[in-house]
């Protein structure tokens, strides 16, 4: 009887997405377990914050100040560029780009299922997370939210075998789709003709054509381009820029309205 019930549940969930509305509330049941399991890690990082020696802190402070200075000088240039960009966009009659709002979140768990690559973060719909929301880390695009509960969400990593990101090559503007392989250190660029101008070291950025990921964020860098005789497309190997297996602090990008090109 229960087995039949299970089968019914499997079919409703996998085939008709019938649990989509109830699932966030059901996940409440297991949220305490996830939080308790994460507690030792939190305590360690708290202890690390509070028990650091003075020299270390001073050293870190110096390092950060230096970095801040460098970033500030870069920002000055950026402001000039932004003004110029706005002017040019006005000339072209294009709409303005909106600045996205950012919510910081922390990774509190990795998925234990060997087939899928998802991480658990500590922000849920109570903090404004929603399904389909893009997630970045400090170095690149990390993935997108696929499931939200009140205080936690699951993020599908871009390297998952079921994840695709439309990208363009920053150098040439060539557009394609980047496919995950299930290996966290390897992705594939799809349908690249042999004649396309692409080489090792090219940076791939989001093209924004999916209307989900905002335009212009770095996704990966080309590791190798192989031309196999007999295949209609080249094999392009890409390394994701985000620290997929290791990032701890991530950003949820909130997009109030879709940008139009």
């Amino acid at each position: 009887m229960l087995a039949t019930l299970s089968v019914v549940m499997i079919v409703t969930d996998a085939h008709y997405r019938g649990f989509a509305t109830v699932r966030p509330y059901l996940t409440w049941l297991v949220t305490p377990i996830q939080l308790v399991v994460n507690a030792p890690k939190q305590m360690l990082s708290w202890a690390g914050d509070h028990l650091e020696s003075r020299e270390d802190l001073v050293l870190e402070n110096h390092g950060l100040n230096e970095e801040l200075l460098i970033l500030r000088s870069k920002l000055q240039k950026l402001n000039a560029l932004r003004a110029e960009n706005v002017r040019l966009r006005e000339l072209l009659d294009a709409s303005q780009r909106v600045d996205e709002k950012v919510v910081m979140a922390e990774v509190i768990g990795f998925d234990q299922n060997a087939y899928s690559h998802k991480v658990l973060i500590d922000k849920g719909f109570s903090s404004g997370a929603y399904v389909g929301q893009p997630v970045l880390d400090a170095t690149g695009v990390l993935g997108q939210v696929v499931e939200t509960a009140a205080y936690t969400s699951r993020v599908l990593l871009i390297a998952d075998a079921s994840h695709f990101v439309p990208v363009e090559i920053a150098r040439t503007g060539f557009r394609s789709v980047l496919r995950g392989t299930g290996d966290l250190k390897k992705m594939e660029l799809m349908s690249v003709p042999h004649t396309a101008d692409i080489k090792k070291g090219d940076i791939l950025t989001t093209s924004g054509l999916d209307k989900r990921f905002p335009i212009g964020y770095p996704v990966g860098v080309v590791r190798s381009v192989k031309h196999v005789a007999g295949n209609s497309y080249s094999e392009v190997d890409v390394v994701p820029l985000a620290q997929l297996g290791r990032s701890r602090h991530v950003m949820l990008i909130d997009r109030p309205e879709l940008e139009r090109q």
């Binding site: 299970s6 019914v8 499997i10 049941l29 377990i33 996830q34 234990q112 087939y115 075998a161 079921s162």
Partner: protein, 157 residues
């Protein structure tokens, strides 16, 4: 009353072990903690812990792992049923023979889960799916001893 509290406690610990982060390279070596615990109770006290408890635990594991809701509850129900059917014979077995039996049952679990994950389209065929079954079978004698001492300590019967 006391016994159901102990059941609850062991299941919570099993679920916490399920949620524990595991290194990415060792993901295939993760034992099925929840199954170890529920199968012990089914074999030891089949009239108190049965198919229903296994089903609830399965749903919890599904929610924890973010898979299809129902996939683990289905396999847990099948396995718990098999154990409840054979519990008298199982108790007569030697510890390692029980381990082999557990290995077979967890293999069923792995196969059904693999089929379902394949059906939704995010599983690549590999023989490594049987690795957790082997590990769980190996862990059985030790988890048996730990759980039996818990049962005797609180004299649950």
């Amino acid at each position: 009353m006391k016994s159901s509290f102990i059941f609850f406690l062991t299941f919570i610990v099993a679920l916490m072990l399920e949620a524990l982060p595991f290194p990415d390279d060792l993901v295939w070596f993760r034992p099925e903690w929840a199954l170890l615990v529920v199968l012990y109770w089914v074999i030891a006290l089949p009239y108190k812990v049965g198919v229903g408890v296994a089903w609830i635990l399965g749903v919890m594991v599904d929610l924890l792992q973010g898979g299809i809701i129902g996939q683990h509850s289905l396999t847990y129900v099948i396995i718990a049923y098999a154990c409840a059917l054979f519990y008298q014979r199982l108790r007569m077995y030697m510890r390692w023979q029980q381990g082999v039996f557990i290995f077979l049952l967890v293999s069923i679990n792995q196969l059904v889960n693999f089929w379902l994950d394949h059906y939704v389209g995010n599983a690549e065929p590999t023989l490594m799916i049987f690795m957790p079954a082997i590990i769980t079978g190996f862990l059985w004698p030790w988890s048996f001893i730990v759980l039996r001492s818990i049962r005797r300590l609180y004299s649950i019967s």
